[in-house]
Every structure is written in C-alpha cells, then in structure tokens.
Symmetry: C2
Subunit: 380 residues, 2 copies
C-alpha cells in the first residue's frame, strides 16, 4: 500500500477532487464538504486559481444583489500530449484535462527503426500539433509502447518486437523536449485505461484483450489499472494453449500468441495457399467472405476464449472488452471467444459478464495515455 | 470507483487514520497534518474519545511544565469476533483492533449439518469466549465460509459442499445474536486477507492458493482484496487442467480440482490399494515416506503450477502463497508448483516472484475475518 501511494505525484487536493465533477461551488460549500479550515480553503483555492486548474465561475443570471463567488474546474487549463507507438504506425494526440481528444495525427513509422528515429518523428509531429494550439500549456506526456515497460522508470524491458529499445531511456529523451512529466506504459495497459475511463468509468473490474499481431491484456481491478509487480500483468499471449506445441518467438512452445494471433492465422492461411502476412490481410479476407479465413479466426477465438475462461475464473470481471486490429474482422472472433468462455466458466462468474467489442477502437491507447497523465497531474 | 466507495462503511476518519500507527500526537500536530480546522479536529477527537477508539496519552516523563495533551489509538477499545467455518471444523476467535488474536477455540462440526446447527455451535462457543472477556465491547463479527459468497448480502451462492446453505441469511441470523456489523466472505478470500495483513502488509500484489479437499485462491491487488464482480474471483479450482477429462463435481470435465486436489489424490491412492480418504490421510502417507503418495502430491503440484503459471502471467504478483491442508505434506507440493511455474512463465514475471508456504497456516482465515471487520470499522 505504501508503494501505491509513493508512486503518485502528490496527495490529491480535496478541493480539486470535488470540483472535477464540473459543478461550481462557493468557498463556504467547499469548507462544509471537506471540513477544511477557512484559511486552508482560501490558500488552496488561491494556488489552484494561480495554476488555472480552477477559475471563478461567472453566474449566468443574477438573483439580485451580489452573488457569492463560486469556483469551477477549468478543463482547458492544460494540454496533455498522448502518443501511441505501434509496430508500424505512430499516433500523436492532444487532449484537454477532461480527457477529450482535441487533435491527432497518425504517421507510418516502423518501430524497428529504433528509439532515436521513432522518438524524433514523435517529437516533430507533437510540435506540429502544439503549434496549432499556441496558448496551450502542457501538463505532461503519456506514451504507449508495444512491449513490456518497467513502470517506475518507463524503460522497455526486453521487448520482443522492438530492436534497439531495450532499457532505452524514453522518459529522459522526451523530458528534454517537453514540459511536464513523461510517463510510459505498455500499450495494452493504456488501451484498458482508455476504454475504462472513457466508456466504463463506473465498472470496478474490467479486462481488455488486444488481439493483433500479438495478444495481450490490460486489467482494471477495483477501478484502477493493475500493472503487477514488474509491470508485466496482462501478458496472456504466452499462456499455454492446451494441446498445442507450435514454437513461439519467446522460446517456449504452445503459447496462445503462437496459436491464435493474427500473425499465427496469417501463417496458417499462407500454408493453405492464401496471400496473408498482416492482421489487415486476415481482416480483409474475412470481410470478403473467405471461408478458410473465417474458420481460422473463429477457431482462434475459441483458443483465446479457453485462456480467457481461466482469466474470468481468477478475476471475475464484469466486462471483457475485445480490441486490437483482428477484432475488426467482424463477429467470428467474438463468437469463438464467447463459445469457449461459456463452455468453461462457472455460472456464477458469467451470470452478468459482458463480452463486448472495444468502443474506442484505435483511439483506446491515446485516450489511456492521456488518462495516465491526468491521474498523475490531478491526483485522480 | 463509485461502487468501491459505496461498499465501505463510511468515509475513513483522517485523524483515526493518522493515529493507527500507534504514535501519540497533539491537537496542533493533527491540525497541521490534516489541514482540518481547529473546530473540526476538536469535534472529531471528542467523538473518537467518546467511542474509546482514541484515548489521551499519558506522557512517561515530563520535560518541565504541563505538556500539551496528546492522543493515541486504543487497540483494546473493541473486540472483534472472527469465525472460520470449514467442512469438518469450526474455529471461533476474538481479536483486538490491531488484529491480534487474543483467544480462540476449534470445534469438530460438519458443515453438512446445515446453517441452523452450525451457526448455533458458532454462537455458543463465541459466547463462551466473550464471557472470558467481560469488559470487551464487540466491534462486529467476520465469518468465513467454504464456498462462494455474494459479498454484498453475505449469502452463500450455490455452494457445492454446503447442503442447506444456499442463499441462507447468515448475516441476519448472526446480527440477531451479536452487536455490530456481521460480514461474511469466502474462506479463501479471508485467508488471502489474513496472510496479507499480518505478514505482507507492504506487498501490493499477492495470490494465496488453498490446496485442500478443494482448490481455490484469493487475490490481493493494489493492497486490497479483489473479490470480483460477483465475489467469485479466485475460483481457480475449475480452470481446465490441460489434457485431462476427469469428471468434476461441478459437472464439467478436467477441472484442476478434479485432478490435483487432496480429494482427487486420495481417490488415485485408493485405486492403487492405499487407505486414503482425506487430505490428512494423504499428508500422513507423504510424511511416512510413501513413494506413491509423494509422487502423486508432486504431480498434483505440477498440475496446479501449470494453472498458476497462467495466473502469474495475468496478474504478475510478487508473492504467491501456498496454503491449505495439503501444503502441510512438506516440500513435494511446493516443488511441483515451482517446477511448472518456472517452466511456463516469462522471465520478467518471475524475476522477483516468491513462491512460499503460508506463514499463518490454520489461522489465516480467522485473521482475515478479523481484518475484514477492522477495515470496515476503522475505514482502513
């Protein structure tokens, strides 16, 4: 519990916490609601107003006489830079303090070009976006990477598809470019955070599963992102798929990712004489009505669903979100996943379980990157 | 997040939170540390002193002149009743507000006798313990049951080994007998809570696995018990053990519990001509050096370890505690579990993973039952 607290920027300001709901309040209301002394409320309000996080609220109508001053949260006080670095593309976005995406750009960029090249591209496009919002002050930058990240340092930890990135100081590199804190996390963690904060804020336990070239998951437990002891939580792509012996890039055999990822499906389809190398190719074959591709995706869904049934037994989530590029292949993947989960889970754990496609789609990770900075800055 | 807050008794008192560390503090120190107004601190202190949760601290030595009054937490202000109802035994205990077990009794009692008989036995022995502490006021009662419990209502939810208990109003029955709130939870959840609060309070992510007649787990995530959406989290006994088709009492086939529980091992040993019906029988055969029993326990450890490898990949805990009666069979179970986990997990997730036997042993559940009431009463 000590670890959790020390990982936060600072104790959350109780006045700011109250005002985040958007309701304007008087000084006396804030004293009543918090029990804080008048001098404390006055001092904290002065600081929050100086920081522009809180502004005096202009009453729309007067009820006669001078109304008591009210204060409200100001979501435009800062901009948040949010970036999602994928295997072949890079998305950079700006959000406000309410987490709304104001502006974004997606650029082709191969992650194998290494951190210097990729982060230079990120910086260049971030500056271009910031130039379009000249009055904006930056609260910080959140970055998602497609591999394991040590959360406290923000350094990639033996990422399999990111040559040149192992232990690279992403935080140091970007702190030199932008004002405010730089936080880095695994892209699937950020997808879970983005889907949760923007679509399911009241849900306590949610599992987000990304099915793309690889397979991974992000877990929300008790309303908070569960990163695990080394930031390695959610690494379900290397759980054994029962009865399989396919060699995985991790060096083990029968990993779920070696059996049911878009890369594994493309390999199967090529062996059957079809042209398929990427997740996008598989999606297009399914959309075109190709039977072999549809069957392969459905079977991959069953394999993923068998592993997810174990995850459901362990954590009993109320929402299981299926995202990632292969989830755009239509209903086959979801149908296979549901089939296996309902066959293998106890009734109690699935009574109210929702198994649903991602609503935020390709924006999940940048929304999560913005949410990570907001939680840090505003003490959420 | 809203759900989580509303499930708590009340907003935690910030003064009480500070004083729980046992350090005495002056009124001015409490004002400085909390930012609360003098009138608020005075009012809250009066309430806490009236409730006896806080008492004036008598200084051991004077530094000349009258020292300012100091206040400290009073762990003897209340007693907590803690009960662990097992399949064949019932443990009743009294704890103080620091969670220390002051007194306890264990009685033979078959849970299949039904809730009226079992809870009458519990009440009788609880009254006998309370009679030995005549000045104690009860803060509440925490009860562990060996089956799924709907946390909000405390009612057993289709428990497989508890005939007559389904949906029984345990809370209503015991509220009529004892003062203070009555909270009921699954025994494995409480074992996880008891082991965590008493032995690993600084650990953020811990998984407690009970291996006995059945198999189950309790998960601590971010320092808090993760109960899941229906209170069904940790139900790992019904995850599929790869390559197995044994019929399970749940109606499915190949469940871990049907393959590697003490009951499953006893069945295997009987088929080999040995006398074994209970977990205790299996433990005694292993302790007596029986090779077939030792091999069976080791193999059960491997099967459990394969499922736990998936759990480790999903949640990345730093501590994995093995408890339950079969864990007393010595090193064979733990060795089999470790073997499978290290064979199947990614290096990052196991670098600092501790796989250890339970330290609280048979007291884990009553300690957890007490901790559940303390968290509720003191707003921990």
């Amino acid at each position: 519990m000590g670890d959790e607290l020390s990982a936060r920027a600072a104790d959350p300001d109780p006045l700011l916490q109250l005002l985040l709901d958007g309701q304007p309040r008087t000084r006396n209301q804030l004293m009543d609601l918090t029990g804080l002394a008048r001098s404390t409320v006055t001092g904290r309000l002065e600081l929050l107003v100086a920081q522009e996080f809180v502004v005096p609220h202009e009453a729309a109508e007067s009820t006669g006489g001078r109304p008591p001053g009210r204060f409200r949260f100001n979501p435009t006080a800062r901009l948040v830079l949010a970036a999602d670095i994928g295997a072949t593309h890079l998305t950079v976005a700006l959000a406000d303090l309410a987490g709304e995406i104001l502006d974004s750009a997606t650029i082709s960029q191969n992650i194998a070009d290494g951190p210097e090249v990729v982060l230079a591209t990120l910086t260049e496009h971030a500056r271009a976006l910031l130039a379009r919002h000249p009055n904006g002050r930056l609260a910080g930058a959140g970055v998602g990477l497609p591999g394991p990240v040590e959360h406290l340092t923000g350094r990639p930890n033996h990422p399999p598809i990111m040559p040149g990135w192992d232990s690279y100081d992403v935080v140091g590199r970007l702190t030199a470019e932008f004002t405010g804190p730089v936080l880095v996390d695994n892209d699937v963690n950020l997808m879970a955070l983005g889907e949760h904060t923007s679509q399911y804020a009241d849900v306590e336990h949610l599992l987000f599963v990304k099915v793309a070239t690889g397979i991974g998951a992000g877990l929300i437990s008790g309303g908070r992102l569960h990163r695990g002891a080394q930031g390695a939580a959610g690494d379900i792509g290397h759980i054994q798929a029962a009865g399989h012996t396919e060699l995985c890039r991790c060096g083990n055999t029968g990993c779920l990712e070696a059996v049911a990822s878009a890369a594994a499906i493309a390999t199967q389809l090529r062996a059957g004489g079809l042209e398929a190398t990427s997740s996008q190719d598989v999606v297009e074959l399914v959309r075109a009505g190709n039977t072999a591709a549809t069957q392969a995706v459905r079977q991959a869904g069953r394999e993923i669903g068998t592993v997810l049934a174990a995850c459901v037994s362990l954590i009993n989530p109320s929402v299981l979100v299926i995202g990632g590029s292969l989830s755009q292949a239509g209903d086959s993947l979801l149908a296979g996943i549901r089939e296996a989960i309902y066959a293998r889970s106890l009734p109690l754990a699935t009574t109210d379980l929702k198994v649903v496609p991602s609503r935020t789609s390709h924006q999940a990770a940048v929304r999560g990157a913005a949410a990570m900075i907001l939680q840090h800055t505003l003490g959420l």
